[in-house]
Structures are given as structure tokens and as C-alpha cells.
Amino acid sequence: MKRKLLGSWEIKKTNTSSGLKKVVISVTSIILGLIFAGLFVLLTGKNPLELYTEIVQSSVGSIYGLSETIVEMIPLALCSLGVSLAFRMQLWNIGAEGQFYMGAFGATYFALFFSGLPKLVLLPLMLLAGLICGGLWALIPALPKAFWNVNETISSLLLNYVAYLWIAYLVYGPWKDPKGNNFPLTKPFSDNGTIPVFGNTRISYALFLMFIIAVILFFILKHSKWGYEIRVSGSSRKAADYAGMSYIKNVLLVMFLSGSISGIAGMAEVSGVLHRLQQTISPGYGYTAILIALLARLNPISILLVSFLMGGLLVGGYSLQTSGFPSSMVSMFQGSILFFVLAGEMFNNYRLVRKKA
């Protein structure tokens, strides 16, 4: 397995990669990604360093910024944990955005129409509704995938637009707050329907939910038989069939769970942060979640770390808006980083060595 290149050097394939090397490659990739995206900023006559400084200062430069970064981290990490579970089985569920919206929808239904229930009954009900709605929404692309091998990447994505329009219908139509000055939002949830927050921050107790789910996933993936099963089913359906694992059952189960975690994220957002359903409940959490899952190599603990970083990038994006930049331009930085991380993968699997004379 050798390939000639560069005179006395050659590239050798290696199947092992040390932890340190992985970290070095990841950090280098992120820096190169920021440089690449910065070039586009530079080409249009702006100083990318100013933008980057602004992003860092606004996100982690103050206690307030830091707390806002954690507010953004929660939905990002939950959605990312959701998609990473599906990615483990090579199921490209990129419908987290829609599953997030549907989770918010389910939770809002109970918050609006059962607002009189005691908090300890209403909040679990809302959680369950968010979980089920997100899960069922993910089952729609999962069923054709399981039975007829229909491409789940495209189908799960198409449903994002449907979910978005469904919420639009609700908040512009039947669920619109009559006292809301015609804004597309529902009336605020009763106190019983809201998750408490820490002190005077906007960080809700859903933070615990995020840690619990991350830890559960970590143990399922690393230490359970089922975690092993979905990894095998993902890498080879034949091997899975041969070992007596039910591929169809696992596709459906993994996709349901994957969607339900994003659904929980949607519930946590409306109940913990916004306290109502509105058209703009997500700046694209479900899409950023995909990137986070890939950057974190699907490791639940790394996902928390990367979500924190991406949360900071989002907060930085909001602050760029005040300087006249669209907040969505942060996806340019995200995409660019991902390019280099993906390209860098090759250096994990290959090594440059000096040829023996």
C-alpha cells in the first residue's frame, strides 16, 4: 500500500492514529478554515481579524456573553446528539431542523391547551410530546429508508420545509396571540409551562437534560450491545443480517430516537428560553448540529465541547448584525472549517514518511 510522491517522501496508509495527532490535525483544520473564510472577507475589503475579534469578545468576553453562549449551546448540543446517533448507523438524518420544530409544536400544544395543570405534570407532558413529535417526524423518512432504501438524506431534509411551514400556519393562523399586535407568535406560556432558569440568566434547567442525554448516549454507544449493533449495521448491512440483527428494526428505532432528541431540543427552546411558540425559533440549529456532530467525530462528550464553540460563534454572529453584517454569515465560517476538517481526515489515515534508501 504505497504511493509515490515528492521524491524521497512517500505516503503510507496507517490504520492507527494517535490522540495527539488527531488534536493537532483538528486544530490545524479549524485555523485553516478560518483563514480560508477570512480570505473572502478580505477580498471584499473588510478585515477578517476585526470580525473574529468581535465574535470572540461578544461570546466569551463577558459573563453575559458567556451565559448567552450556553443558552445557544443547549439546542445545538441536543440536536447534534440526535443526529450523531443516526450518523453512527450511517443514516444521514439531516432533518434535525424540522424535528426541532415539530418538538416545539408538540410541547406548545400542551402548554397552550393544558396550561392549568401543575408544573410537575405539565412539564413532563410537554417533554413527552416534544419527544414523540420529533421522533415521529423522523420516522417519516425512516420508513421508506428501512423498507425500500429510499435516500434518507434528501427526504429528511425536504421535511424541514414542511415543518417550518406548519409552524408558520399555526403562528399566523389558529394559534396566533390575539393580543400580540399581529406578530407571528402564540400567547406566552403559563408559568407552569416554563422550565426554570438559573439566577438572572436565560440558561434554563434544560442544561441538565443535555448532560444527562449526552452521558446516556455515551454509555449506550461505547458500552452496550445495542450500541455495537448499530455501528455494525451502519458499516455493513450484510454483516448485520448475518449476525441476526434486524436492520429494519434498527433503522426505525435509531431514526425515532434521533428525531426525538431534536424534538426535546425544540421543547426546551420554547419552554425554557422563548416561553412561547413563534416563527423564528431556530437560527438553523438543526443544520449547525450536523456540522458539530461531524467535527466531534460523533463522540457525545466532544459534541458538548464543540457545541459550546459553535454556540459562541452564533452569539458572535448576532453581535456582527449590529455592525451591519448578516448573522447568517457565520455559516460561511462553519462550512469552511468543515471543508478542512474533512480534508484533514486523510492525514489521520495516511502518513508522510521518508523513503528508505
Binding site: M1, N151, V162, Y172, P326, M329, V330, L338, A343, E345
Partner: protein, 310 residues
């Protein structure tokens, strides 16, 4: 519903289908060579913003289109380098391209929001042909980019099935090691196909911002890039069927808009869902068909080619 109304729906269906047709044709070329590019949405957006930028300031729509084509090709080049040279996962790289393109177009277009266009593609009735009853109004009373897209379908069909270059392209997606063994440069074929595909997506984006709704709005492609990728499966990787799919999609989309205008009592949000639900259903049905016919999908689609693992 009277006949004139039906004609209007079909004619605007062709218009609505045209950006998707360009993008679909591009993805057909790309996938035929064995590379899956899910970055179509991002390439279209960058195409749309650059077309509007250049078209508006130079007051020359053709220059705008040209720049959009180049921009789409450059975007695709990123995907090509990552997936061909670095052999990275094609799904992930395509997603990255879409995310990147969404952000880049928002950044480049930040000063363009709300600016009126100065040069757009307008209806040019073809002399004679546009007088044909019904058909004339639907097909020959359109703008130049619509006619161009139909010509491109014919050209691509000819290249695919009647030329050596087409054979090479298809072989690259079916059996890359055979192409390599015959002494052709498989990498060159794949690079060319991916970049060519991006150029088409860029043109599709230009159609959005210079003809379909001449303006720049963040995220104006609204999922059309993804619909284009889905239609490639419907098209069984055939340019002629891509045209059929794109126009069919366009008619569904314009049907929704016209029902709204007619005051049908369905909330507009449900009508706007139609194209996505329609594409979903088409995806399911055609995948089942392709499976039973056991034909269609290029055999090496999505698999990185590496000589040492031949």
C-alpha cells in the same frame, strides 16, 4: 377553470421549473461521473447572488449569468478537491458546501437586499412558434434562459449517449478502474464533471435572481437545490427525464400559487408545502421503481476512487 387559466398555470410552471432544471442537469453530470454533490443549494445561492450583483451593477444580465456560472464552478471545485484529491465523505462535503454557500451568499449579498434589478431576462416570444395555439403560449412565449435550458437538454443528451466524451463520463461513474486501466485520466474526468455540474447550478441560481424573481433575498433558493438533487433520481440520471421532472415540479408549484390567487379556501402555507411533499413522494416511488428495474444508479456513485485500493 377555463383553458386560458390552465395555459397560464402550465406556462408559469415551465418558468418555476427552469432553475431546478439547470441544477438537476448539473447534478446529473456530476453523479454520472460517480460523485454525489449535495452542495447544489449552496452553489445555487452563490450563483444567484453573484448574478444579481454583477448583472445589476454592469446592467448586463449576460455578464451576470456568466459570472454566476464561473462562481458555481469554483464552488464545485472545492467539493471536487475534498472528495477526489482528499477522498473525503461526499455526503459530508456536500453538506459543508451548502452551509458555506448559504453563509457566503448572505455575506456577499448584504448590501443588495432591496435593490431593484437593472437588467433582467424578459419574455421573448419566438416568431411564428409562439403563434401555435396552446403550445405556443406555454413553450414559446418564454425568456431566453428557458429556451437555452431546452437546448442544453438536447446537447447533453447527445453528448451523453452519442459521443466518446459521454461514454467516458458514464464509465467514470460505472467502473472507474476500467477507465483508469484503459489509460484515461479518471481524476480529470471527475474534476471536469463536478465543476461542470457546479456551473449548471450557478446558472440555475442566476435564473432565480435575474428572471424568476429579479432581486436578492437571503436564502432565496428555498430548498430548490435539494429538490433538484431528488429529481435526479426521478430522472434516472437522464437529461431528458430531468426536463420532464423539473417542469412537472414547476407546474405543481405554480398550481399552488394560482389556487391561492383564485381564493381557494386552503391556507397558503399548505399550498406552499406541496412542492416538498410532492418531491418526497416522487423520491419514494422512483426509488422503488429503480430498484425493481435494477438500472439507473451509477454503480460507483459516492465511492472515492483510489488507485492503491483497486
Amino acid at each position: 377553470m377555463n383553458l386560458n387559466y390552465l395555459i397560464a398555470i402550465l406556462a408559469s410552471g415551465v418558468v418555476a421549473g427552469t432553475p431546478i432544471l439547470y441544477a438537476s442537469l448539473g447534478e446529473v453530470i456530476t453523479e454520472r461521473a460517480g460523485i454525489l454533490n449535495l452542495g447544489v443549494e449552496g452553489m445555487m445561492l452563490v450563483g444567484a447572488v453573484s448574478a444579481f450583483y454583477v448583472g445589476t451593477f454592469s446592467q448586463n444580465k449576460w455578464l451576470g449569468l456568466l459570472v454566476a456560472i464561473v462562481a458555481g464552478g469554483l464552488m464545485a471545485l472545492i467539493h471536487a478537491v475534498i472528495t477526489i484529491a482528499f477522498r473525503a465523505n461526499q455526503v459530508a462535503s456536500g453538506l459543508a458546501l451548502t452551509i458555506f454557500g448559504t453563509g457566503l451568499s448572505a455575506y456577499l449579498g448584504r448590501t443588495l437586499v432591496g435593490i431593484p434589478p437593472t437588467s433582467t431576462f424578459k419574455t421573448v416570444p419566438l416568431p411564428g412558434l409562439s403563434q401555435i395555439p396552446i403550445i405556443g403560449k406555454i413553450l414559446f412565449n418564454q425568456d431566453l434562459m428557458v429556451y437555452l435550458s431546452v437546448i442544453l437538454v438536447i446537447v447533453l443528451w447527445f453528448v451523453f449517449y452519442k459521443t466518446k466524451a459521454g461514454l467516458l463520463l458514464r464509465a467514470a461513474g460505472e467502473n472507474p478502474s476500467a477507465v483508469d486501466a484503459l489509460g484515461h485520466n479518471i481524476f480529470l474526468v471527475r474534476y471536469a464533471a463536478v465543476i461542470g455540474g457546479g456551473m449548471f447550478a450557478g446558472a440555475g441560481g442566476a435564473y432565480l435572481s435575474l428572471a424568476y424573481s429579479p432581486s436578492w433575498v437571503e436564502n432565496m433558493s428555498a430548498g430548490r437545490g435539494w429538490i433538484a438533487v431528488a429529481l435526479v433520481i426521478f430522472a434516472v440520471w437522464d437529461p431528458a427525464r430531468a426536463l420532464l421532472g423539473a417542469w412537472l415540479f414547476g407546474v405543481i408549484a405554480s398550481l399552488g400559487l394560482h389556487l391561492q390567487a383564485l381564493g381557494v379556501m386552503i391556507p397558503s402555507y399548505f399550498l406552499q408545502m406541496l412542492p416538498y411533499i410532492f418531491t418526497f413522494i416522487v423520491l419514494v416511488i422512483t426509488t422503488r421503481e429503480t430498484k425493481t428495474r435494477r438500472s439507473g444508479t451509477p454503480a460507483a456513485l459516492g465511492i472515492p476512487y483510489s488507485r492503491e485500493e483497486r
